[in-house]
């Protein structure tokens, strides 16, 4: 029952478990659901990085949609124009967005609160419009189109493209799960938390606050770049319409709604990003209203769901689940403890202290 103590071994175990789950899920699902799994996967990559930034290092970013755009355009240019293979192109997307992350992060580490939000907001609005300014290279509003990833022949002729895309995105998820899980429990993770909780105390301990914050930005930018690159592979398209301000805002909404600072929250956040628009659209259509009303209704429903969710679960889905699980465990442990009190009197309550 007990898991290995080393972080590395634990992360590997987690990755293997997640791989098995993703594999089974992709086999069991139909083509459209495989595609949604792939969508959810690239959102997860971005949200996991954003969780490190906001949850662990305490910085806010309204500009991660633009970092996704960096990854997506890198992949689209390298695969479309330079005919690179998939894996090196994705690696390049991570590298390029990490470099952009260094630049933005260095500026961001000097800013606090609303100024940081404002600077990253400007980044989110400004960067995608470069695609329109230099439309010769980036294809303008029309975007860049790439060929769908070729399904390897050993998988058989009838292997659905959507499942193959889900697999590719799944491998990306595993890489992020592994990297982030290790980082969170490493010395770097502790430095990030120290800086988040008290910058003065952290610098008295010898930590370079600005450098630690920049590092957090770089990590999250690399994750966003991978997510964006994966988006380009799954949609076979990099176009500015995908990276509008709304994306950056909904990424932030998703980690808050999922549960800030928790890796599981990133999974819930990704599920929300993929499924909520479909649900709101279905609800809007089920009212059989005029097209003009029902076309605008999904956004209104989305807003209502957000408000309701934040009122009901201020700590997000993950927070709500943890509370429910806590209650259940307490009542279970409580009843067991009563039993054990009557026989041996051992104190099982210490399990609860976290």
């Amino acid at each position: 029952m007990s898991l290995p103590r080393s972080t590395l071994a634990r992360s590997l175990g987690l990755v293997l478990g997640a791989a098995a789950v993703l594999l089974i899920a992709s086999e069991a699902l139909g083509a459209y659901d495989d595609l949604q799994l792939a969508d959810g996967s690239y959102y997860y990559m971005v949200l996991a990085g954003l969780t490190v930034l906001t949850g662990l290092s305490g910085q806010i970013s309204l500009g991660h949609g633009a970092l996704m755009a960096v990854g997506a355009y890198t992949v689209a240019l390298l695969i479309g124009d330079e005919h690179w293979a998939l894996v090196p192109a994705l690696a390049a997307a991570v590298a390029v967005s990490a470099i952009v992350g260094v630049l933005v992060g260095a500026a961001a580490s000097r800013l606090r609160g609303p100024y940081l939000a404002g600077a990253t907001l400007a980044f989110a609005i400004g960067l995608p419009s470069l695609a329109e300014k230099y439309s010769g290279t980036f294809g303008g509003a029309n975007g860049l189109v790439i060929e769908p990833p070729a399904v390897p022949s050993f998988l058989g002729a009838g292997f659905p493209l959507e499942r193959w895309e889900a697999w590719i995105a799944g491998v990306g998820v595993l890489a992020v799960v592994f990297a982030v899980n290790n980082l969170v429990r490493s010395g770097v993770g502790r430095s990030l938390r120290a800086v988040r909780d008290d910058e003065i105390a952290a610098s008295l301990c010898g930590l370079h606050v600005g450098r630690v914050q920049t590092l957090a930005f770089v990590v999250s930018a690399a994750c966003a770049g991978l997510g964006g690159g994966m988006l380009a592979v799954v949609l076979q398209l990099a176009a500015p319409g995908a990276f509008e301000l709304g994306l950056s805002l909904s990424l932030l909404t998703a980690i808050v709604l999922g549960g800030l600072g928790s890796q599981l929250g990133a999974i819930w956040g990704a599920a929300v990003l993929v499924l909520l628009p479909t649900w709101t659209n279905d609800i809007a259509r089920s009212f059989s209203l005029s097209n003009q009303v029902s076309a605008n209704l999904p956004l209104a429903i989305y807003g209502v769901v957000l408000i309701a969710a934040m009122l009901a679960w201020p700590s997000g889905i993950q927070g709500a689940l943890r509370r429910i699980a806590g209650l259940a465990r307490r009542s279970w442990l409580g009843s067991r403890e009563l039993d054990s009190h009557s026989t041996s009197g051992s104190g099982g309550v210490t399990h609860e202290s976290t």
Binding site: A25, A28, N142, G143, V145, L161, I267, N291, A295, H351
Partner: protein, 433 residues
């Protein structure tokens, strides 16, 4: 103790993944041998800009098609099959188009896609639709990129290829505004570029003094219009969607620039552009800003109330889509729906995706209906109408004159008059050759 806690956390993580995967799988994923078609129904899907920059005007198209199908369905449909249309909003955003078309094909299991709207949008799904062998009928765009029947056998255009429109407008400019300086204001994609190619094919290069592209989604076109004005253009050619025709004219008005306007059929519908002008100027301007504009049309003008097709469309609109105005967009939606119904009739009772494609390949060029000119359909050529008639905005309405013209998009091919008379609509259903 530590291990126990981590154990719980890991188990929690795996549980979350499973739940997320299962929740993702909640949609229907049934597949049948002939998707979207039963003995009593046939379902098409479409992607339309119901909101966003292209929505004004264009959002009326799919509901008008729906109204025409309702009219046919009330008469028993085609071979007893009622035609259903699932309309999805892609906001004229290519990324959204990819999502909604995947949803229509893979989740809603539609038989085909019908009048998917827009060049920048639809180009992103043509590859997917053709590799999935899904009929992609009558794209609502005149991009030359739909014409390639041999490489994209499932995709069909419908309206005239933009280069054909550009050539016909270009010939008019050459004949009637000879020697005058011409400026072109165009959307920076295959729509604008296709139209520009047609203009350049007819108008001498020395006469074109300025070519200014705009990006769909931009809100300021003053730089482009100022540049065209500064170049001294006396004729302004617009390859624009309605909202940019309106923005361009308001900007010209503010700059005190009054060139002869020439606008492709895509961006001139007076009801739409007039409405936009009114909204943007807070009621101060209207159709007078496009009065006298030269344009072209391949369907009878909605102002011709005596035309039997316009009378039919008005009757259908009043009964099934009463909230909509009778404008060029509604006419477009109904006319396309008529062509789809004809194609379904031609494809026969035992309908398959391949049979629908074959029917248009073999008989599409013989189809007649509300169009003023014939289609160009063949096995290798999937472009729509082969020409148009010149028109002008007079008293806020489009008046066509001079008779329909036919041409090919290839550079240098001649423009010839087309004289065959338009047939009247059948008293019920559709008529096929």
């Amino acid at each position: 103790m530590r291990a126990h806690r981590y154990g719980l956390r890991t188990t929690g993580a795996l549980c979350a993944l499973v739940v997320a995967a299962v929740v993702a799988g909640c949609g229907s994923s049934s597949s049948s041998s002939a998707p979207g078609v039963t003995a009593t129904s046939i379902t098409f899907g479409t992607h339309q800009p119901l909101t966003g920059p292209a929505a004004p005007g264009y959002s009326e198209i799919a509901p008008a098609s729906q109204a025409f199908f309702d009219y046919l369905n009330a008469q028993g449909g085609i071979y007893g099959r009622k035609i259903h249309l699932i309309i999805k909003n892609d906001e004229y955003n290519p990324t959204q188009t990819v999502s909604v078309v995947h949803e229509l094909v893979l989740k809603d299991n539609v038989f085909g896609i019908f009048e998917g709207l827009g060049t920048p949008t639809h180009t992103k799904v043509v590859g997917f639709l053709n590799s999935s062998k899904v009929p992609d009928m009558f794209v609502a765009s005149g991009c030359p990129c739909w014409d390639k029947g041999s490489t994209q056998p499932y995709t069909f255009g419908w309206q005239p290829n933009y280069t054909i429109e550009g050539k016909i407008l270009g010939q008019y400019i050459k004949q009637h505004f000879a020697g005058k300086k011409v400026g072109v204001f165009y959307q920076d994609d295959d729509f604008g570029n296709g139209g520009l190619a047609g203009i350049e094919d007819e108008v001498p290069a020395s006469q074109i003094v300025s070519k200014q592209p705009y990006q769909s989604g931009t809100t300021n076109v003053a730089p482009q219009i100022s540049a065209i004005k500064a170049a001294g253009a006396e004729v302004l050619v617009d390859f624009t969607v309605p909202i940019y025709t309106a923005l361009g004219q308001l900007t010209s008005f503010t700059l005190g620039y009054k060139p002869q306007l020439v606008v492709s059929s895509v961006g001139i519908d007076p009801t739409t552009v007039g409405g936009l002008l009114k909204t943007y100027s807070k009621g101060k301007a209207g159709t007078e800003l496009i009065e006298g504009a030269i344009t072209d049309g391949y369907l009878p003008s909605v102002a011709e109330t005596s035309n039997p097709w316009i009378a039919l469309f008005k009757r259908i609109k009043d009964q099934y889509d009463p909230g909509a105005p009778l404008d060029g967009n509604v006419e477009y939606g109904m006319a396309t729906a008529y062509t789809l119904a004809q194609a379904l009739e031609l494809a026969g009772k035992s309908l398959t995706r391949e049979k629908l494609v074959e029917a248009v390949n073999e008989k599409g060029a013989e189809l007649s209906g509300p169009g003023l000119v014939p289609f160009r359909y063949s096995k290798t050529e999937h472009g729509g109408y082969g020409g148009a008639e010149i028109g002008q905005v007079r008293a806020g309405k489009i008046v066509l004159f001079g008779g329909p013209l036919l041409t090919e998009p290839t550079a240098g091919s001649p423009i010839t008059p087309y004289t065959k008379a338009q047939p009247s609509p059948p008293s019920s259903g559709v008529s096929v050759p």
